[in-house]
Symmetry: C2
């Protein structure tokens, strides 16, 4: 079985966009009366089925992957839009939609939720929505280290304000993927630099801290191959060692994982060369950041399975990346997608 730990619902029914546009306008106008009613949302099963069948499911089949750990569009979370009540309403709608995708395609998708974060609001408030989603069968959450949308003015992930949410994650036995949302800072491009910069920032925050000593069961998936970290492995190793910390491999341990959303062979080869295999999870981020085929290979930029297939690693290691590691990181997968006898 091949588990893709990083897929977003980026082909949502069009009425969802209409709703969000109206909700954003009302939030910006501070006009609660103009908030669109949730009950008026038109999200028929057929439209959901088609939007998945012609896209993510089609690509799963073409590329030979089996199960996608699926969450709402990351750039759409928009935690900086409106206040906490807006974020709660929007998160519930988006998460419910993921639950419906999973209900329609239970063998192919399993849910991860977005959280109703809001700039300056205590992260512990998100525990309610996380708990609700786990009750619906979700196996993890996306946690935004910068709800401002590009100005990086939140406390680091090592700050105590995050701890109650971490405690809830541990209690529920779910990991988080560190993932910012759309960038509203004109200096930064959402998928090109903002995502990667947040990944690199958070890795650096945690490696010099005692966060995982305080929370040995806390699990962070840092997506997009860990941002800049594998390319600068020597820099990060050196900084850690100079600060009296152990080797990065030891720091990552059972707590920090990188995914394989790196869209070329040399990048994947580097990733699998320097990062411990036990800390790498297969992922494509499809349909996502980079659409279309690479003219040099003729295959999708985000067809990351091809790169893993060709990486100079053992078949046992490939199986860990494709399935085994995901089962360790997402314990709740077990109930929903039992391992095949051959896995």
């Amino acid at each position: 079985m091949i588990i893709d730990c990083h897929g977003h619902y980026t082909t949502e029914p069009k009425d969802l966009h209409r709703f969000r546009k109206e909700q954003t306008a009302a939030a910006n106008a501070k006009n609660k009366a103009a908030m669109p009613p949730r009950a008026a949302l038109k999200l028929p099963d057929d439209e959901i089925r088609d939007s998945i069948g012609g896209n993510q499911l089609k690509l799963q089949r073409e590329r030979g992957t089996d199960l996608t750990i699926f969450s709402p569009r990351a750039s759409g979370m928009g935690h900086h839009i409106g206040d906490e009540s807006v974020s709660i309403e929007w998160s519930q709608i988006c998460n419910d939609l993921i639950a419906r995708v999973v209900e329609l395609f239970p063998k192919n998708f399993i849910g991860v939720c977005q959280l109703p974060q809001s700039p300056g609001v205590d992260p512990k408030n998100c525990a309610v929505e996380l708990e609700r989603c786990v009750r619906m069968g979700f196996v993890g959450c996306n946690l935004n280290p910068d709800p401002s949308g590009g100005y990086f003015n939140s406390p680091p992930m090592t700050d105590k304000s995050w701890f109650p949410l971490y405690e809830k994650m541990i209690e529920l036995d779910v990991p988080c993927m560190i993932h910012v949302s759309g960038c509203c800072n004109p200096a930064m491009h959402t998928t090109g630099s903002y995502y990667l910069n947040a990944d690199t920032m958070v890795f650096m925050q945690v490696i010099l801290s005692d966060l995982f000593k305080t929370f040995p069961k806390l699990k962070f998936i840092i997506p997009h191959g860990g941002g800049a970290v594998p390319f600068h492995w020597g820099r990060f190793r050196g900084i850690a060692l100079n600060n009296g910390k152990p080797e990065l491999a030891e720091i990552m341990g059972d707590n920090i994982f990188f995914d394989t959303c790196v869209y070329h062979q040399p990048g994947i080869d580097l990733l699998t060369e320097v990062v411990p295999i036990d800390n790498i999870l297969f992922a494509s981020e499809m349909v996502g950041a980079v659409k279309g085929n690479d003219p040099k290979t003729g295959f999708g930029f985000d067809d990351t399975k091809r790169y893993i297939d060709k990486a100079p690693i053992s078949d046992a290691d490939r199986r860990k990346i494709f399935e085994g590691n995901a089962r360790r990181v997402y314990p709740r997968l077990k109930a929903k997608a039992p391992a095949a006898a051959t896995a």
Copy 2:
């Protein structure tokens, strides 16, 4: 000849630190009367000579490099401290100190200046200091894309507010190295994530723009191996192609260059595999971000010459990285360091 295009004066005489501490305190207290007098600075030749002789010069000799393009400590620029007048005073002092290093060791160092940037102040005001430094024999400048020190609230480098400074750079025939300063944002680590994130951000800003069509002679050196870019080469290629832009190699052309401040062999191998050789400049950033020896190799993390020596590239390509490309990017090197007959 081996030219290291990225060295900072990080072993400055101690009285410089005393001055900056007092200047910062006065600036924060908004007490101009408490500003320390520049004339009282004690920076004797002997102390400068020793601080270089026992550090950068010693390492040049041990590692077999010849000439370092040398600028003030990057993390010390501190553009967010005080107002423009504070930044001007501090920049002049730091640049004058570089000029004295070059005067004492003319065969081993050549100057690059910091600019008196200040948050919200028009970058064109920096042209005066740039011109002064070029008259002193400097061959380039460090340009800070985020004078806020970690909040990324400046306009992108494609914004017209930067253009008058670009025009001055072109008139003077000097490139800039994109380099932020010390981070005052508790969410980001100066050398671990902030530097790399600024590099990645600026690359992304310019590749989707027409900046180098507007300024065909403008040259940006993006340090630290180009931040996250080479590791995510496929991502950036895909985003560029999807936006109707050409291949990254074509976009970089004679305008964008990455240095080799990547502190492990696999990183350098990736860099030289995916980035055009003509766009790579040798650099170590020593004595800088990561001190000490890698316990796995027994050699300095920042001894990047060793990685280039071992990279699977031709000797002709190695010579380009070590010398030829730097001569193209810094035309003013010619007068100060004529190429050897064998180069």
